[in-house]
Symmetry: C2
């Protein structure tokens, strides 16, 4: 059917061993022979059969990427960073998503056996750790991304807690006191860390103040709902801190629709710094997380066998939406 190493060997009048050496750039091949082999391979449009190669070489040149989902702003950016490093190193990416289902995650992880040289796994669902550890073979190097701590595995996390503290500090410095928080899914590692940052910062700055937390699930629609809810409150907040930008945008649109001025009447802040954050009106103040960089670092950590440089912390991006509150402006 398709052309194999044997065909090349026959045409070039050498053994398959020599063809293999020539193609793989080994030193021990006469220059003239190498050229001939490469010429024939090219003419025959030969391309090595991957499964055969990886079966005998024990290497796949492929990295497995197991994520909760393959789409959405976050995963998409993560893939971009991973993809870039993979290309630099000539690696392929075998992707798999498990949609938050622990069993599927286990299956996905196990199915990677013999298909990849290493694994990049993101498992932000707090409840899934048992399955995770169990399905991660010690034989396959793995790096966990944004999945909290994990014994025996390298990890790389966004500092969501520290980021939330920074944002709260910014809002408090702006004079805001009644700060509501739109939380992410409560089984999500980052969502929890951001909520913890909000609570701790509040407790530290204004001891005794009751946290004001609305439940969201990281998408615009839930931010939109939370925004509406806040507008109906007996006493409105000075500021709203959403656990991610998508919810902040949903909230912003709810405020816009209601004719509530941001930041004039209510200040608003998000987390992530998605591209749209700077284009909405007013520009959204947020914590910049370099997600693509996180993905790239994770892959490099996997390949280079080190722990990976710790990911740099999120950076505060001050835009108009958090502008000084009326009180602070006095």
């Amino acid at each position: 059917m398709s052309v194999t190493i044997k065909d090349v060997a026959r045409e070039a009048n050498v053994s398959v061993a020599t063809v293999s050496r020539a193609l793989n750039g080994h030193e021990n091949v006469a220059e003239e022979v190498r050229k001939r082999v490469l010429g024939v391979a090219d003419r025959l449009r030969y391309s090595p059969h991957h499964a055969a190669r990886s079966l005998s070489s024990r290497r796949t040149q492929t990295i497995g990427v197991v994520l909760p989902d393959l789409y959405g702003e976050f995963f998409s950016e993560l893939m971009r960073g991973i993809d870039q490093v993979a290309r630099e190193r000539g690696l392929h990416l075998l992707v798999s998503s498990y949609h938050g289902n622990p069993e599927e995650q286990g299956a996905a992880l196990r199915a990677m056996r013999g298909r990849v040289d290493g694994l990049l796994v993101m498992s932000p669902f707090v409840g899934e750790r048992g399955f995770l550890e169990q399905s991660l073979s010690a034989a396959l190097p793995a790096v966990l991304i944004n999945s909290g701590a994990a014994e025996g595995h390298r990890t790389l996390n966004v500092d969501s807690y520290g980021g939330a503290l920074s944002m709260m500090q910014h809002l408090l410095q702006g004079g805001h006191r009644r700060i509501a928080f739109i939380a992410g899914p409560d089984d999500n590692h980052d969502a929890r860390e951001r909520l913890r940052g909000y609570r701790d910062a509040l407790e530290r700055a204004l001891p005794g103040t009751a946290p004001w937390v609305l439940q969201g699930d990281f998408d615009e629609a839930s931010g939109h709902r939370a925004g509406g809810e806040l507008l109906r409150a007996a006493q409105r907040p000075d500021a709203v801190f959403a656990a991610n930008d998508m919810m902040a945008l949903g909230c912003l649109f709810a405020f816009n629709q209601a004719g509530v001025a941001v930041p004039g009447q209510i200040a608003l802040a998000g987390f992530d710094d998605i591209p749209l954050a700077r284009y909405v009106h007013p520009g959204l103040t947020t914590m910049r997380v370099d997600i693509a960089d996180l993905g790239g670092r994770a892959l490099r950590a996997l390949l280079d066998g080190n722990g990976g440089d710790p990911a740099p912390g999120p950076r505060l991006m001050v835009r108009e939406s958090s502008g000084a509150s009326p009180e602070a402006a006095r």
Copy 2:
């Protein structure tokens, strides 16, 4: 190192052939033996070595996905649709992006040999067709997505031309006459089709009217720039039709920043119906393209060997941004 079929065979006191049959669900295995084998495999946490399996069975259970990029709203949605069908069929996805580089595309396509059972390729760059056709082996079934026509290969395209006609009809019916168009990259298949739709509709409805086209590149920043440019025009347009939503949003933000009312002073429309389109204020009128569905259809077409149901045409989503112009309101 890791456990192989031999280990299972030894433990279960059968031959590797029997283990193979039991594991693959073949009929010709005694029930009692099957159970024993499955039990042992489970206990040993055996998982078949993929490369070995696909080398001998000639099947990889993997579909190659070659896209211009792996990130961004469009690809992300496409992956979602592909991923969903892949999961239903128990298939893995080997992804590769080529960043608009024809040579890289060729390399990516060739590197898929022996790794996948079929290929899903998106190649919207008009100039790359030669490379594409050349790197597509006849041995490997392939479906081209949004890549225009291709001899000898199945294709699935969004009807961008028809969609642009529909949107223009909507704007014209709203009474708009001076309609500017923000075009996408000129080497992009969809961008060209949408531009062609704009021109044809204009010529048909208002023969002799000069098209008003601004160059964009499908991202918010270029839409933002185009919006600014339109505001500086001696005579502003009645309506702006952007070749995709991201540019329409960039344009909307430019208008918002300048205090120009949409649709009061200028109507605005986009194309794609990305999730944000309904959340911005005013809601963005656009053509809905079900991208995830497109991806799913493409994979089904590949697997089921048929041409695939033709993708349903884009649907007009009327929201506030295209509201009747002052003239039409009279």
